[in-house]
Amino acid sequence: MTGLSDLSIEAAGTGLRDGSFTSVELLAAVVRRAAITEAHHHAYLTIDRDGARLAAERADGELADGTDRGHLHGIPIALKDNMCTKGLETTASSQMLAGYEPPYDGTAVARLRAAGAVIVGKTNLDEFAMGSSTENSAYGPTRNPWDTDTVPGGSSGGSAAAVAVGSALGAYGSDTGGSIRQPAALSGVVGVKPTYGLVSRYGLIAFASSLDQIGPIARSVGDAAVLLEAVAGWDIHDATSYRGDVPAISEGLADGVDGVRIGVVTELMAEGIHDEVRSGTQEMIEQLSAAGAVVTEVSLPATEFALSAYYLIAPAECSANLARFDGVRYGLRVDGDTTEEMMQRSRAAGFGPEVTRRILLGTYALSAGYYDAFYGQAQKVRTLMRQDFEAAYKDVDVLVSPTSPTTAFPIGERTDDPLAMYYADVCTIPCNLSGDPAMSVPISLDTAGLPIGFQVMAPALGEEMMFRVGAAVERIADFDARPALASDEVVSA
């Protein structure tokens, strides 16, 4: 009951190479799927029909000529709309950047083009990646394919929804406090935040520079590995990119968990975690143990302060990162008699409420007299968080927890309660603070039929072990549910 657009990247690659179908046909299937699902979910802000078709034609031509660019050759993928694409509108879901066409490709984008990937379009997000529900988009929310009255999570909700419904075979998002993993969990797909620095941030519209990381969203752990490998590795344009060898991401996918030491984070299984999420997580842990993993409980005491620290650090960095949107060189301008007035009006009109809130928060946290009490102290919490992780990884290979404290929540439920919204990231933020990699793998549905995500965390550059455990979780869970699509027509698309 599935079409070409539901294929795994590996299966699609086989089909492209054995002549079962072309990249143009694969793209057409994806675009047909989007034509139907978009009305319900609004995963995309822009679908680049012409550009994608050209890329697909080129991919087909190259394959016919014997030029094979690898796993992503001819594969239709989607990009979060905070990744700069040359000549293709890039808005970060903000009014500020309506109509903005970057004059350059970000490094990840350039690498994807070089790998022969077909960029279908740009997906919706919380404005400037600030949010956990994709409701804070100037262009309207994305809806969760599993229940369109709920959010898909955020901020990479568009990418997660597109992958979930097959309007892309894979996608990329960015994760600052959980923005890949949490929407992946809420949308029933796999999401990976790599080690900080593993993927270049050049061309990613910055939210919080010391936390941001590009990563894949996919329908399987194997696909996620392929997508990550295509963009990972040192980049001269990003001073913070990792200069060593890329971990052997997909090497151990089949190795299983026998003998692997797994730590369960006590603080992330405690109160605040929804019962069904906790029990689903607990069940998976027991199955991992049954499969030979050595499971222990591990306490990360600083976790209790991670959320607070994050909501000082991220806004502080964003207050500077978003200062460049001033109506001078690009983006929205609202006129004023003086430049100062023009800037104030442009920024007031261009930024939505959540972005405004965080800029104000960060400005305050950095301002004279408050720096030490807020920002300075938050940076120390970060140190403690790292120390907790370092200590834990002396005894275990990976840590596990729920990805999100709840499954998908109703649209509008938390929009007026910033603190409740911020709590959605309680399980994901610690790894952003430490810089360590983490991933979310869907394991089951709750009684409302909404997906539950399972988080696997690893020490820095421990992607190989993380993917190995993630793949084992995937096999054990055998999660093959898909969101019901709107009509039979869709199913055959």
């Binding site: 900080y196 000082l312 200062a323 301008r333 023009m342 120390k380 919490v381 970060r382 810089g435």
Partner: protein
């Protein structure tokens, strides 16, 4: 611990024009968030060094090479207001 915020001053520093009503709303929300965030102050951090960055690497440099610039028409195509090859802005009150 209640947090004092001069929201008008913060908004001015951030160059965002706020209505009185918005000042009131954001002021309240910021106070709530900061009251929560102030929990970090309870943590004993004597002798703890701040971490501003997850990496322990140092010295990422580029060689001193000219690698090219953007064509000016592309640069100015983005501009809200441009004239004679320049970006144009209204008059400036304050001089840096």
């Amino acid at each position: 611990m209640p947090v004092e915020i001069d929201i008008a001053k913060v908004a001015k520093l951030a160059r965002i024009a706020l209505t009185d009503e918005e000042q009131e709303t954001y002021g309240r929300q910021l106070a709530d968030i900061l009251e929560h965030a102030a929990r970090v102050q309870a943590l004993a951090t004597d002798g703890v060094k701040p971490t501003s960055h997850p990496l322990t690497m140092v010295n990422a440099f580029r060689p001193d090479e000219v690698t090219g610039s953007l064509p000016r028409d592309e640069v100015l195509a983005m501009a809200p207001d441009a004239v004679d090859g320049y970006f144009r802005v209204p008059k400036i009150l304050d001089e840096q």
